[in-house]
C-alpha cells in the first residue's frame, strides 16, 4: 500500500468525477442522468449507514430518519426563507447532525438489539410527526409546491444536466469525506470497537463517545443524501423517512458489501438498477427483487464487493489481507 492513501483516494475520486462529468458531453441520456442523481443520494445514505454497520458494528434500523430529516429541513428552508441553495443545504445538514446527536445521545448506550429497535422507534416517531404536523409538512401528501431551485453562480439546477453535475460533485466529495473518516485514527478506533469493545475500553477508548461520534457523523451524511433526494423530487415525502427506506439502505449495504468502502455505493446502484429493470418488465417487482436477494444472500453469503475481494485474496494468498 502506498504511503499516502489519502492522496490516492483523492485521485481516485477525482478520476471518477471526471468520468461522470464527461459522459453527458458525449452522450445525453435523461434516464441515465436520473439514475446517477438517484444513486448519488442513495450512495451517501447507504455509505453513511455503513459507517455504523460495517465500521463500528452498530446496526441501526432507523437511519432513514436522518435521510428524511435532511430532505424536509432543506425543503422547508428553501420554501420558507430566501437563503441561497448552498447555505440552505449546509444548514439542513447541520440541523440533521444535531438531530442525530440528540437521538444518538439517547441510544448509543443501549445493547445492540435494543439499539436497533430504539433507533427504529425514533424514526417511526419522526415519521408520525411528519404525518400529523400537517400545517408544516403537508402530512401524508408531502412537502408540495416544489423546491425553488435558485441558481448558484449562474448554475441553473432546474436544468437536468446541472442537477446531474451538482449531485455528482456533492456525492463524490461526500463519499471522499466519509472515506477520510473511515481511514482516520477515529475510523480505526471505531473498527477496534467493532472487533472487540472490551479491549477498546481497556485501551482507554470512551465507548459511548466514539459511538456517538460515529452516529452523529453518519446522521449528518445521511442528511446530505436527503438534501440531494429532495432536490431530485423537488419536494419531500414521508416515505423518505419511513422504515422501508431504512430497509433499502440496509439492503444496499448488504448487497454491495459491508466490509468494502464502496460496497454500499455498488449496492445502491444494483438495487436501483434492479428496481428500474424489474418495474419495466413486471408489476410484481417485489417477487423478483425478493428472489434476487434470496439467491445472492444464500449463494454469496456476503455482499458482491466483499465476495470479489474474497475471491481475489484466495487467488493471491500472499497478498495484502484487509
Amino acid at each position: 500500500m502506498s504511503g499516502r492513501p489519502a492522496l490516492r483516494d483523492a485521485l481516485i475520486a477525482l478520476a471518477a468525477l471526471v468520468v461522470i462529468l464527461a459522459i453527458p458531453f458525449f452522450h445525453r441520456s435523461p434516464a441515465f442522468e436520473d439514475f446517477v442523481i438517484r444513486v448519488s443520494a442513495m450512495a451517501l445514505f447507504a455509505t453513511s449507514l455503513n459507517l455504523l454497520v460495517g465500521t463500528t458494528g452498530m446496526v441501526s434500523f432507523g437511519h432513514g430518519m436522518f435521510y428524511g430529516f435532511g430532505a424536509y429541513a432543506f425543503g422547508l428552508l428553501m420554501q420558507m426563507t430566501d437563503l441561497s441553495l448552498p447555505v440552505a443545504a449546509v444548514l439542513a445538514v447541520a440541523m440533521t447532525t444535531i438531530a442525530a446527536l440528540i437521538v444518538g445521545a439517547i441510544c448509543v448506550r443501549l445493547g445492540s438489539d435494543y439499539f436497533a429497535f430504539v433507533t427504529l422507534a425514533f424514526q417511526m416517531l419522526f415519521y408520525s410527526i411528519i404525518i400529523s404536523w400537517q400545517s408544516l409538512t403537508g402530512g401524508d401528501q408531502g412537502l408540495r409546491g416544489g423546491i425553488p431551485r435558485r441558481e448558484i453562480f449562474g448554475f441553473e439546477l432546474a436544468s437536468q444536466l446541472h442537477l446531474y453535475q451538482f449531485c455528482a460533485v456533492v456525492a463524490v466529495l461526500g463519499l471522499l469525506a466519509l472515506r477520510h473518516v473511515t481511514e482516520s485514527r477515529f475510523g480505526r478506533t471505531l473498527r477496534m470497537i467493532r472487533d472487540n469493545e472490551h479491549r477498546a475500553a481497556f485501551l482507554g477508548v470512551v465507548l459511548w463517545r466514539a459511538r456517538l461520534g460515529a452516529f452523529t457523523l453518519a446522521g449528518g451524511f445521511a442528511g446530505l443524501g436527503g438534501v440531494l433526494a429532495a432536490l431530485f423530487v423537488s419536494g419531500a415525502y414521508p416515505e423518505l423517512a419511513d422504515w422501508p427506506n431504512s430497509g433499502q439502505a440496509i439492503f444496499a449495504v448488504m448487497l454491495g458489501g459491508i466490509g468494502s468502502f464502496l460496497g454500499p455505493t455498488l449496492g445502491a446502484m444494483i438495487l436501483l438498477a434492479l428496481n428500474d429493470a424489474v418495474t419495466r418488465v413486471t408489476e410484481y417487482h417485489g417477487l423478483v427483487l425478493g428472489l434476487v436477494i434470496l439467491i445472492s444472500a444464500l449463494g454469496l453469503r456476503r455482499g458482491v464487493l466483499d465476495y470479489l475481494r474474497l475471491i481475489r485474496s484466495r487467488r493471491a494468498p500472499s497478498g495484502e489481507s484487509r
Partner: protein
C-alpha cells in the same frame, strides 16, 4: 390533541368500556403475534422479520378455507396449522442456513420472504381488500356493558386469545417440552449435549410461532380487512411489544401487548392523529428507564 375528549371519555363508563374492549382486541391479537416473535428470539436469537407474513398468510388461508368449507372453526384451524407448517419450512429451508451469522443476513432473508409473499398474495388473491365477514352466529345485536358497546365476537376473540396465553404460559412452565425450550433459550449447546434433538426443537419453536401468528391472522380476518401489505404494520407493533416486554419473555409480551392495546384504544380519543407517535414515545420512555424491557433479564 384533544384532552377534553379524553377526559370526557375517561369519566363515562360507556366510553371506557368501549375503548377498553377495542384496546383488548388490539392487545390480544398483538400478543399472539408477539409471543411467536419473542419465543423465536428467546430460543434461537433470530429476529424474525417475516413474522408479519405468517399473520397475513394465516388470514388469507382462513379466508379461502371459509369460502370452500363455510365453517369458521375449520377456517381458523386451517390458518393456524398451515402457518405452523409454513414456519417449519421457512426455518428449515432458509433461516437455518444463516444461524449464527450476522443479524443483517437474517434481516435480508426475511425481507426477501416478505417481498415475495406480498406479491404472491397479490397474484393469488388480487391486490384489493377482502372482507371476511362476521360468522353468522355472531351477527346479533351487541352486548351492552355499563352502556358500552361490546360485539359478542370481540368477547369471544378476547377469550380465545386469553386461553392461548394461559396454555402457552402453563406449557412453557410445566411441560417437558416447555422446560426444554426454556433451557435451550439459556444454553442451547448444553441442551444439545444432553441428548435433545435441537434441530427438531428449533423447528417446533418455529411451528409454534408460525401457528400463533397464523391463528392471529385468521381470528383478525373478520374484524379487519385483508390486504397484501397487512403484515407490515403488525410486524412493527409486535416488535415494539417484544422489545418493551423484554425480548424472550412471554409474560412481558402479554403485559406490553395489553399496554399497547390500551394506548391505542384510548389514544384514538385523545390524540386521533398521533396514536402511532404515542406508541413510539411509550416505547422510548420505557426503554430509557428499563433498557432490558419490562420483564427482560439484564444483558
Amino acid at each position: 390533541m384533544d384532552f377534553e375528549a379524553l377526559a370526557a371519555c375517561l369519566t363515562t363508563a360507556a366510553c371506557v368500556v368501549t375503548q377498553t374492549t377495542s384496546g383488548l382486541i388490539v392487545g390480544m391479537l398483538l400478543f399472539l403475534v408477539a409471543a411467536g416473535v419473542t419465543l423465536i428470539f428467546g430460543v434461537l436469537k433470530v429476529v424474525n422479520f417475516a413474522h408479519g407474513t405468517f399473520y397475513m398468510l394465516g388470514g388469507y388461508v382462513a379466508y379461502s378455507t371459509l369460502n370452500v368449507t363455510g365453517s369458521y372453526t375449520v377456517a381458523v384451524l386451517a390458518g393456524a396449522l398451515a402457518m405452523a407448517a409454513f414456519g417449519v419450512v421457512f426455518e428449515r429451508a432458509l433461516i437455518s442456513r444463516v444461524y449464527g451469522s450476522n443479524v443483517l443476513m437474517q434481516l435480508l432473508i426475511c425481507y426477501a420472504v416478505v417481498l415475495i409473499f406480498d406479491d404472491l398474495v397479490k397474484i393469488v388473491w388480487g391486490p384489493e381488500f377482502h372482507a371476511m365477514g362476521m360468522p353468522p352466529a355472531f351477527q346479533v345485536p351487541p352486548l351492552f356493558i355499563a352502556g358500552g358497546v361490546v360485539p359478542p365476537f370481540y368477547a369471544v376473540l378476547i377469550a380465545i386469545a386469553a386461553l392461548i396465553a394461559i396454555v402457552l404460559g402453563l406449557g412453557l412452565s410445566r411441560t417437558r417440552l416447555g422446560k426444554t425450550v426454556r433451557a435451550a433459550a439459556i444454553n442451547p449447546q448444553m441442551v444439545s449435549a444432553l441428548g435433545v434433538n435441537t434441530t427438531l426443537l428449533f423447528a417446533i419453536v418455529f411451528a409454534i410461532g408460525g401457528g400463533l401468528a397464523g391463528l392471529a391472522g385468521a381470528l383478525a380476518a373478520p374484524v379487519r380487512s385483508l390486504s397484501p401489505g397487512m403484515g407490515f404494520s403488525i410486524l412493527i407493533e409486535s416488535f415494539i411489544v417484544t422489545v418493551i416486554g423484554g425480548m424472550g419473555s412471554i409474560a412481558g409480551a402479554l403485559v406490553s401487548a395489553l399496554l399497547i392495546g390500551m394506548v391505542r384504544g384510548f389514544g384514538t380519543i385523545g390524540f386521533p392523529k398521533f396514536t402511532d407517535g404515542l406508541i413510539y414515545i411509550v416505547m422510548i420512555a420505557i426503554l430509557l428507564t428499563r433498557p432490558q424491557g419490562l420483564f427482560g433479564r439484564r444483558q
